[in-house]
Amino acid sequence: MPERRVVIGSKVGLHARPAAMFVQAAAKQPVKVTIAKSAGGNPVDARSILSVLALDARGGDEVVLVAEGDGADEALDELAALVARDLDSEG
């Protein structure tokens, strides 16, 4: 299954605004994407804001994104790029 490992670029981690932006982007994808901390833990649905917040992924942590099916690679590329950006200092 296609997967991407990416280090979180936002200082606050996947919390607050960066978490919301990530979940909204995941919800727009044609395939289901999961996210887990590379350090371990169960993969959760990337469209679930509560699950993403509960990961407690901090800035600098590595996460792994996994998807399957048509368009999986494109979806993963887009979401991985988003995670790598410092979303909190933008706009």
Partner: protein, 552 residues
């Protein structure tokens, strides 16, 4: 016949309007029986979650800036697909809709709470969402701040910070709480918004929705079902009083010209414009915690510096007293607070956190010094929760080491007041935080509504500590201010000046009343009233003695 309830007035002003009660959170019935049809249970649960989400989105579209994003984030939680599937799993396992909803929320609540104290606001959002969904399912009144569609007087048991995100001062004419105290969130919020408020009003939650009440936030009274003439008379008198207050302006002084700086308290770089526009000599308390709260790590030097710069620039050439990070106790920080302290109010908080994290204070002082160097403001810096002369000396030296002119301390711990002569000699100024100083002097938790009488800032033991601190400052020519809620009580402000206090810092809304009160007394009269208060046997007696003497 009209009935008058009384409490403690915590935010001045007079207002009248129909009551809207804030409903208590719904209780999930422990004996909810499932209908036996999982499909219909599931439909009911999903419909309730959709309704809650839609109402949050609707409120978000009407709310201003920050509040809108809080509500939109909450609406996202209500639409969470994993939450929905947990609910569906629950009803398919034979649970009633309301039980399945409560259980699904509880799962996520436990996960978020486990992530650490900085998730506290998200947990509060989630709890609010659960309460709304459960209330919808049970068909009981929606919890939280009501929205009757017209201006109203809000009545609640007490308000939590989460209840206040969307409090609209154009709709809420006054606030009455059954519990709370003079230093509760309700009091601080009402004062900052300029909404009249009375707390600890016994019987308030029994007033019927829609009943007219007349609220006097200065006197601490609530008239239930007053006649129209009474309401009109009270509102007219309030207008006349406001007009009289507006006629005095400029720096604070007694009627014989003794100067007393009148300053504002600010807690962030939001709402800077109205605070800067207030007729004041600057900022007596700039709280900096907001920069550090609700995040997993400290703000960067640049981030801090930019915020400090905005605040200093807003106040031009005026004085701005910055209080360094006051974390711990009721303001836990993920990266600072010691977990599982048995008694956080007596734990590693305020300046004490720099024992473990000296780098945080060092970086904050660097950011303040950089911003100060690039601005016109007269920047003073003080540390919270100082207890010893050695702490005061070390802090003042550290502040001066950054090229800042003035390093002082908050007097909130009785030890610092008792040793004020030595503390004053070791630093450049002192500022008394009456809320914490009351709590520690009277061994009464600030949030304990039923101990409000002990937390009354008129309590003579507190006034004695204020006197000792002021006298120590005076002997050495060091300024001594008061920056707690108490400074905003016009009559108590007069007493503080009589005790030797040189500046008073408060919410901008309170300044005109304090300025007018000072202008109505000579310094000798202030001292006479202070003596009456010191000689009283408790807070109530002190207030009454000063009030009676002031009227005669």
């Amino acid at each position: 016949m009209a009935e008058t309830l009384s409490g403690i007035g915590v935010s001045p002003g007079v207002a009248a309007g129909p009551v809207a009660q804030m409903a208590a959170p719904p209780v999930v019935p422990t004996d909810a029986t499932p209908s036996g049809d999982p499909e219909s249970e599931n439909q009911a649960a999903m419909a309730a979650m959709r309704a809650v989400s839609a109402s949050l989105e609707e409120r978000a579209s009407r709310a201003p800036g920050e509040a809108a994003s809080v509500l939109a984030a909450q609406a996202m939680m209500a639409e969470d697909p994993t939450l929905a599937s947990k609910v569906t799993d629950g009803v398919q396992a034979g649970k009633a809709a309301v039980t399945a909803v409560a259980d699904a929320f509880e799962d996520f609540r436990a996960m978020l709470a486990a992530a650490g104290p900085y998730m506290a606001e998200r947990v509060a959002d989630l709890d609010d969402l659960r309460n709304r969904t459960v209330a919808t399912l049970l068909g009981v009144p929606m919890p939280g701040v009501p929205d009757p569609g017209h201006p109203f007087v809000l009545v609640a048991l007490d308000l939590a910070p989460a209840d206040t995100a969307t409090l609209d001062k154009d709709r809420v004419r006054a606030i009455i709480t059954e519990e709370g105290g003079p230093t509760s969130h309700t009091a601080i919020l009402a004062k900052s918004l300029g909404i009249p408020a009375v707390v600890t009003v016994h019987g308030a939650t029994g007033i019927a929705d829609g009943e007219t009440v007349l609220v006097d936030g200065t006197e601490g009274t609530v008239a239930v079902a007053p006649d129209e003439a009474t309401v009109q008379e009270a509102l007219d008198a309030e207008q006349a009083k406001l007009a009289a207050l507006q006629s005095v302006s400029g720096p604070g002084r007694t009627s014989d010209g003794h100067p007393v700086q009148l300053l504002v308290n600010i807690a962030g770089d939001k709402d800077l414009a109205p605070a800067a526009a207030a007729d004041s000599e600057g900022v007596g308390l700039f709280r900096t915690e907001f920069l550090f709260l609700d995040r997993p790590n400290a703000p960067t030097l640049e981030e801090q510096q930019a915020v400090y710069q905005r605040v200093f620039d807003a106040f031009g050439g005026r004085k701005v007293v910055v209080r360094t990070l006051d974390a711990g106790a009721d303001k836990p920080l993920e990266f600072v607070t010691v977990p599982d302290e048995p008694n956080p109010a007596l734990g590693v908080r305020g300046l004490r956190t720099s024992r473990r994290h000296p780098e945080l204070l060092e970086e904050q002082l660097t950011a303040v010094a950089n911003a100060a160097a690039a601005s016109q403001a007269q920047v003073w810096v003080m540390a919270p929760m100082v207890s010893t002369t050695a702490e005061a000396a070390a802090f003042a030296e550290q502040v001066r080491g950054h090229g800042l002119p003035s390093g002082g301390v908050m007097v909130e711990v009785p030890a610092a007041a008792i040793r004020a002569r030595h503390v004053a000699a070791a630093c450049d100024f002192m500022s008394i935080g009456t809320n914490d100083l009351s709590q520690y002097t009277y061994a009464a938790d600030r949030m304990a509504g039923e101990l409000a009488d002990l937390l009354d800032a008129w309590q003579p033991a507190l006034l004695d500590l204020v006197r000792m601190t002021a006298e120590a400052g005076k002997a050495l020519g060091k300024p001594v201010g008061v920056c707690g809620e108490a400074a905003s009580d016009p009559l108590l402000a007069v007493v503080f000046v009589g005790l030797g206090i040189t500046s008073l810092s408060m919410a901008p809304v309170s300044i005109p009343g304090v300025r007018a009160a000072l202008a109505g007394h000579t310094l000798a009269e202030c001292r006479g009233l202070a003596t009456l208060a010191l000689d009283a046997e408790d807070g109530r007696a002190a207030r009454n003695a000063v009030r009676n003497a002031n009227r005669s």
